[in-house]
């Protein structure tokens, strides 16, 4: 009988003192004894934190894995090629995301299988409105983010290093198994920014598919083309938070750039990944008519008129507490502009009970999916068609 293949996760070192392999040989005994004796003499030899080969505390070793998408430079520097920042990082320093660290010229992710939170949410909460409506998504996040939006709702987890928050030991196969136990249809990588835990996400997508689970990424789309294309080969849907349609806003409020996000959206479209866009409308900051109109035209031209667009309501948070919540009338104005530019599925979010939470047939106007908040009240789709006029409705329905 063929022995079971050792899962790479199981092959990672366990949380044991270095030098101990289950039994002492003479050399190990001497080494440890000498170390203890020296420790009694000189407190400088005492160690509170056992270290792995790369120098990381041993208790975190199982969450540490060599990163993908980086290049080695001179003098132990590396350049990260995961996101458009292309951080050049010195030895023992971390990237802007705070969860990737250079050690002696090798770049590591510190959050592999190390989510700081997990929860089962309706898929509507992501929001993904045209992707298996009414299904549940097992949602996970690690600490860290490659942006720093002044209005971040989850800054307590997105703007921290992994050591600063509690975490769970949930490697990819275990994540997928847990999602199944919760009867989720999909695994959602969300809350913070999944791009920064790319390796964990990628391997979990695969583990999920092996168990019949779909995967959706909730992202700001701040990712370089190569890792995105590699991910698009497997991911089932992506929701992109497009923060604004101006570089100034991206620079001043988001601490990033607009163009890479637009490029990423085009890449997703070319890779035929189901994509929805959320646009958080911040009063006076990104709600101008010209900007919303230009955004709508761009979406129609480069992504098509069937991409759902959600204009969602801002609430004062984090570093942006000086502005009021977005007036509903502003959201309605944004929707009206996008509708007039010919987008078929424009929603209003964070306003429970608003009629613009529903999906209507773009051809005959029939109410097809009725929602209140994250709850589906009725679904009148016939397969993927309008039950009244037979119009095909874009989305992933079954």
């Amino acid at each position: 009988m063929k022995p079971p293949e050792l899962n790479p996760i199981d092959a990672l070192p366990q949380d044991k003192p270095s030098g101990y392999n289950g039994s002492f040989n003479r050399r190990t005994f001497l080494k440890l004894s000498a170390g203890t004796a020296m420790g009694l003499i000189s407190p400088l030899t005492l160690s509170a934190t056992q270290k792995s080969d790369a120098g990381f505390p041993h208790k975190y070793q199982k969450f540490i894995k060599e990163a993908r998408y980086y290049e080695k430079l001179q003098h132990k520097q590396i350049r990260c090629n995961l996101c458009p920042r292309e951080c050049v990082i010195d030895d023992r320093e971390r990237g802007y995301c705070g969860v990737r660290e250079n050690r002696e010229g090798t770049y590591y992710t510190l959050v592999y299988g190390r989510p700081c939170t997990y929860h089962t949410d309706p898929i509507e909460k992501k929001p993904l409105f045209h992707f298996h409506p009414g299904s549940m998504a097992f949602s996970i996040a690690t600490g860290g983010c490659n942006l720093n939006c002044k209005f971040c709702q989850n800054w307590q987890i997105s703007q921290v290093s992994p050591e600063q928050i509690r975490h769970f030991d949930l490697p990819p196969p275990k994540t997928a198994d847990t999602a199944n136990q919760f009867n989720a249809l999909s695994i959602a990588y969300t809350y913070s920014e999944p791009v920064i835990f790319y390796e964990y996400m990628y391997d979990t997508v695969i583990a999920g598919h092996e168990r019949g689970l779909k995967s959706v990424m909730i992202t700001a789309g701040y990712i370089k083309e190569k890792p995105l294309i590699d991910l698009c080969a497997h991911i089932d849907a992506i929701k992109v938070d497009l923060k604004a349609f101006s570089q100034k806003y991206y620079r001043d409020v988001v601490n990033g750039d607009l163009q890479p996000v637009l490029d990423a959206l085009i890449t997703m479209h070319k890779q035929n990944v189901w994509t929805e866009i959320v646009y958080l409308v911040v009063p006076t900051m990104n709600d101008g008519e010209k900007e919303i109109r230009a955004l709508s035209r761009w979406i129609k031209e480069y992504l098509g008129d069937n991409v759902p667009v959600h204009f969602t309501r801002f609430h004062p948070q984090y570093l942006m507490k000086n502005l009021p919540p977005t007036p509903v009338s502003t959201l309605e104005r944004c929707k009206s502009i996008a509708d007039s530019e010919g987008l078929n599925f424009v929603f209003i979010g964070n306003v429970p009970g608003h009629p613009a939470e529903h999906t209507y047939c773009p051809s005959c106007g029939t109410l097809l999916i009725e929602r209140i908040g994250f709850t589906i009240r009725s679904n009148h789709l016939n397969q993927n068609q309008c039950s009244q006029c037979g119009q095909e409705i874009a989305g992933i329905w079954f």
């Binding site: 400088l44 934190t49 120098g55 505390p57 023992r92 570093l319």
Partner: protein, 327 residues
Amino acid sequence: MKRRQFLKSSLWATTTMPFIPLFGRPHLKASDSSASKIILADNAGYANGENTVNSYRIAKRLDEAIAAYFDAGDPLQGWKQVVRPSETIGLKVNCLSARGVTHPELVEAIIERLQQSGIRTDDIIIWDRLSSDLEDGGFTINYKQRGVKCYGNDYLGFNAGLQVFGSAGSRVCRTLTDRCDGIINLPLLKDHSIAGVTISLKNMFGAIHNPHKYHLNSGDPYIADVNSFKPIRQKIRLNIVDALDAQYEGGPSFLPHWRWPCNTLLVGQDQVALDYTGWQIIEHKRAEQQRPSLKEAGRQPSYIFTAADRKHQLGCADPQNIKPIHI
């Protein structure tokens, strides 16, 4: 005083120190000027021809530097202007690069003087970002046992309140906010591949939860913003720059071929003046080694000037108002 003159006057001692006897040095007193005073104590750790740090020499030169800075006959008189008995004092070292860290010998010398100034050993905390960094730097972790405490921010965590100033918003470590009454800042003198130089202002990145967010635009204005957080600004009592070994290129990583035995302690309470002076030392060494200036390298530490501007007012970056005193 022009920048060139400042460079000339402040650097001759540090660059020629192995060859000039101590008694031949001009010695200005603190009372000589109201300008931001910086003490540069040379021959502070290595004896001629030796490559190991001499604890006795460090302690002696530290005493002389403190006495000179506070214009006191006795270093303890100076220390008593820094701390009060029964206070808890934090020593913010720099152990990020694991090697080439704040010298434990310097820390020991400071602890001895703090004790003599009435601070209980239990009330002295050596701290930095992570306990593992401190351990890599040669310090002994001590969370709760009697004696001097030593731990990273990962032990007590960060204060829940968000500090906001300018472009920066951070949580400050509880070691600083909740435990310490005052901080003695013990930075290194190093080139920094992003910020230009890392000295006393940059060292306070080790007090916040999100330093990785503030390396954009060569750390400007973030470094000045972070140092303007109220708890940080209010608690730093004194800065002692450990420039026994300094690095003029490739920092902050430890790269031995770009290090040199600067063999100097810099002492001051004006962080901006201190960083300006340290920056000039690095520039001088870079020029000597035929490296481009930091401006030419595209990473002039403009945050030093920002720290001195009307909004921040953290100190003086005008060489005419900085008084480097060589002892």
